[in-house]
Amino acid sequence: MRSDLGRTLKIRSLVYVAGERIPYFWPMRAFIHHNPLHGFEHLDFAQAVEEGAALFHAKGYLSRAQYRRYVEEGKIDADGLRSEIRRAIGEAPEILGIPLSEWALADFLESEAPLAFSQVSLADVQDVAASLRRNPMGQREVSRGELTGRLRSRFMEGQPLYEVLDALFGTEMATELDELVVKSCLDFFDEGQSVWGMPNREQGFFDSWRDLSLRNGRLFLKGLHLAEVIGDAKTPEQAIVHVMQMLGIPEWLWQEYLRREIARLHGWAGFIRWRASAEHYYWGRRYPADLVEYVAVRLLFAGAILREAGRRGLPADYPQLHAWMESEPQTVYLRAELYGGTAVPALAYPIEQALIGRDEVAIERHFGDYVERKREQEASALAHRLRALAGHLDKETQLAQLADDALGRLLSGLEQIERQEGMVWLRALEGCAIDRLAQGLTPAVAARREKRPFAQALFCIDTRSERIRRQLEAAGDYQTFGIAGFFGVPLSFIEIGKGSETHLCPVLLSPRNLAVEIPGFEYREEEAVTALGKVLHELKESVLTPFVTVEAVGLLFGFDMIGKTLFPALYGPWRKHLAPKRGVTRLLVDKLTRERADSIVRAVQRAVIEKAIEHELGLRPEQIRDDRVRALREVAMGKAEPDREMLADLGLDDERLSALIARLRDVYRINRSFARMQMERLGRIGFSVEEQAGYVAQALRSIGLTGGFSRFVLLVGHGSTSENNPYESALDCGACGGNHGLVNARVLAQMANKPQVRRRLRQQGIDIPDDTWFMPALHDTTTDEIQLEDVDLIPAAHLIYIERLRTGLLAASRLCTAERMPTLTEKRGASDPARAWRIAHRNSLDWSQVRPEWGLSGNAYFVVGRRDITEGMKLDGRAFLHSYDYRLDPKRRLLENILTGPLVVGQWINMEHYFSTVDNERFGSGSKVYHNVAGRFGVMTGNLSDLRTGLPAQTVLKDGMPYHEPMRLITLIEAPVEHARLALDEVASVKQLVHNAWIRFLILDPETRKLWGFEEGEWTEQPWPGSGEQLDTMEAAQP
């Protein structure tokens, strides 16, 4: 008994560790950018990319051809590349009078294709030498031991067995397994997309799946006898142990084996991991599932498939495979070559015939011949490429005379540098980007302003704000600041008419306060038109609909479709008129007093009781009197005894009365404990005055705005508009958990306009003048429109300035679209403001538009400091800009907050874009065109596939080529060096990112006017034109 428990716990532990490398997958309704290699951040970047790429079968860097394009476009310069190569090689000898770094540079810049040492498995230096000198190759035997060793390391170190069999027999068991698992996942995790649901899901993933599978006739017919494989395993842990033992996998391999199993469908695994950890996720609580159950289901399917393969004669378990490899290594090797697609072409068919015939003598003969030919082929291919490379350096003829050991040094040197090729290119690309940033920075300390600006605006640090901030600053006397999009106020929000909470803050935080939207003065109830809309939408989901409604209602849909497709710009706004106009609303931000909360609860209870009486007793509203309702309420709450007479005229006898009271208590929840819970909930609403002052003070201090307030302080949240876009939430504000930032803006504005709050702030030293008004606004990043909100709250004295403000904002918006549209479309005149404006609006309404805006693509920089240092610099929407004034932050708390919050979010966004660009098929989600929404929380490609993670091709690629430049986030902090370094030391997570080179970290010291960068564990000085000192070359750096 005890050993079973130990085993169960051990399995849980194994699965937990195995799943750690898989990043979480959040439901796409609130898309979260995250680093796909988040589970590898404890490693150095280069090593993490290597291991992550191996685990997920993906590439970690762009191809050489793509980097070469960057050289042509001027984004990488050859000198930078040379110095990076030298840095990677270190001390290296000269070959034929040319340093190794020059060989490598010629290889990178001029060779047709990489030397591709990884494809060379048999040839060695002597063979290549022989080929170069056009001599015949020497004889060499491949010993049995060597062969077995190679095969073992390739196939017997934790690879899933079906993968091994696929590689050796050309079967497609892995695909079959994945499909079965995906189907089971779709059935279980569906969140209301399908009309017929899987039964008994409340029992949990494993149990409900097991129930079904034991009765699945179709699987049985396919030859998958799941009942046999499941045996009497009742729990997922038992099932896992059973299958692993059945397949004979040695226990020391279990960790690695499970790791690879889970990584195969990393989208689904990531989703299950997240779901199991999300405590408030409705579907997760209702239908529980965790990673151990997933692994059990997967392994049981795999076991069944392998059993079936075993019946067909394949070596379907570990001991059999091992024995086969030991006894017939030549056969195994040839099979691996044939089905792995690496066979010598001319010999492919004869080998296949020999293998099919299982002719041992023929196989042995073929083997010797094959190895010979393969060696020759590899050696001559490598020699050919080497000769071409030497040709670029005019050393072709001397190459053949090179001694063997010199040739060996050349080859190993080139092999080493090609292994690091990706990192070298990446660093060269980043180096140029850093130079460009350094060139454009201006030392701060601008002159003091004589009069305050016309308006100040706080934008989200999002890269898309950079353009509009620039345009706004140029349009008039405006001062802009960058702050995290949730304005430092984490809150939970209940929208009007909705029943659930949304968390409007970064996913790293859990908000403690709740804000509620209530109707304002003119709010109208929803009318009949929306009822029709609701009916139509429900019709779409019923099974019988296609048979009935096409004739009846289809025409309406057709009309809609034609309008949306052919005339989106005209039809869209008209259609919006059909939907009810959202009236004015207010946000409840202040804490409720106990009395108010109590009266709210009473009012709700009264309304419920009225409805209950109407429903249960069939009385009409005019027959229900207030005092009767009150009496019933008192009784249900246990505060009074039933007053028989008063209730007798309701027509109730004792029995029916008690039944009614019981129903009120249980079904309608008019009882003490529920009322208490409601009071608690209401207690969560709002912020106390101290809290409000705290948040406002922190927000203003963190951006360095503590004086010189203008008449208007705009709080501009951002969101985007698009149609038919499952990735809609990805274009919204990440700092607000994938929602738009208007609510947070409204909340902070309301707090900052409150006299009590301002009084407290004055005590703390932040003096906000009486005529300063905080106003929320929404920046629509698709159309660049800035919409002012809560305009009806503006004090009268400010109204005369509104026109000027609106004009300024409109001008900035239109110029911003004029700057942006040429990047999205090749249409002529896209840079004309009027035309650009129209195009942008059309993008937001067109349901066929796969790229309504570029979003955060192109992000490269994260600048924390005063706006003065980047003022006037054209960053093309590629920078996260966070305002910060170190002089107001002596204890470095604010800088630490910026590092630990917004910077981490920025790094997640940057890494998401990086990996989706370098390998869109594995790390990204492929083309949007093939996406199908799965279960309402994710997308799949085609009919049945893994949940696609990452960004789609249309977001990061343009015509198949990368649009986003994949680089690590170049972070710049404007503060004295010690100040910044000490702050960094305090934030363990960011310190790890910097030390492991996940971000490139720079410090601009405004007092000594020096620029420092973190390289390989040390702080080195970087050249900066604004420093006023001459630094001769890049190498003149001091630690």
Partner: protein, 254 residues
């Protein structure tokens, strides 16, 4: 029974196991154009011998012929190499010649029809030669997904395979229709089964070679030249027209 007449014919119009001789010779030849030439010669010799010797074909031989055709068609289903595939389809096709109504065929006509029937397979061999010249082999594991980068080569391969599968408007389609119309029920069902297997084998072949994931590694290898492409397309256009003309003839007569 005319053993003297039947035995040589069993080699030339392959009946299993005599068909193994053809395959052995075919394997010995390395160059695809040589294989094509072998096919041409063998087929013409076979049909010529059939008409010249004009034996009485006993019932069991017809059944055996259909059996041979079925056998080779099934084997073609799982083949992975282009020239071997062409060879097996060739044997399957040729063995159906036993079912021809010998008395009603003129000599010139018979030679022409035979040529047109095997022409797609000959061209497929030539195309295999071009594939081997470019990729080193015509083996389906190593060469695949041609449509991604080699549209001309893919088109011609597709045309060849479709013609070999006896799809209209290529003449083989109409020949088979005519053949079935004169055969007994049992034999025609056999021929239809063979035809079905040809279709299956052809589609599988195309699926891996032309469609499917892009497997070829070579990056700068060129597609077929325009001249060759147009020449081959012209041949197929001619074949198609000829087939349509045959169709008209059939309609007129029947």
């Amino acid at each position: 029974m005319d053993w003297l007449k039947l035995l040589p014919l069993a080699v030339l119009l392959p009946l299993f196991p005599a068909s193994m001789l053809f395959n052995w010779v075919e394997r010995r030849l390395d160059a695809p154009w040589a294989k094509a030439a072998l096919m041409l010669v063998w087929a013409q010799a076979g049909i010529g011998a059939l008409l010249w010797l004009a034996p009485e074909v006993p019932g069991f031989v017809s059944i055996w012929a259909v059996g041979t055709a079925l056998f080779y068609a099934v084997r073609a289903l799982v083949l992975n190499e282009a020239t071997a595939w062409a060879a097996f389809m060739f044997v399957s096709l040729l063995s159906l010649s036993w079912l021809l109504p010998v008395g009603q065929l003129g000599l010139g006509q018979a030679h022409l029809y035979m040529l047109l029937a095997i022409l797609p397979l000959l061209l497929l061999n030539l195309l295999s030669g071009m594939m081997i010249a470019r990729f080193g082999s015509a083996y389906l594991g190593l060469v695949g997904g041609l449509v991604h980068r080699y549209p001309r080569l893919s088109t011609l391969i597709a045309l060849s395979v479709l013609a070999a599968m006896a799809t209209p408007p290529f003449p083989l389609f109409f020949y088979l229709i005519e053949l079935i119309s004169v055969l007994s029920l049992g034999l025609s069902i056999g021929v239809l089964a063979v035809w079905y297997l040809w279709g299956w084998a052809g589609v599988r072949f195309l699926q891996r070679l032309v469609l499917g994931p892009d497997v070829c590694r070579g990056s700068k290898i060129s597609d077929l030249s325009r001249g060759v492409t147009w020449a081959m397309v012209a041949i197929y256009v001619f074949l198609g027209l000829f087939g349509l003309w045959e169709a008209f003839e059939m309609v007129e007569v029947g």
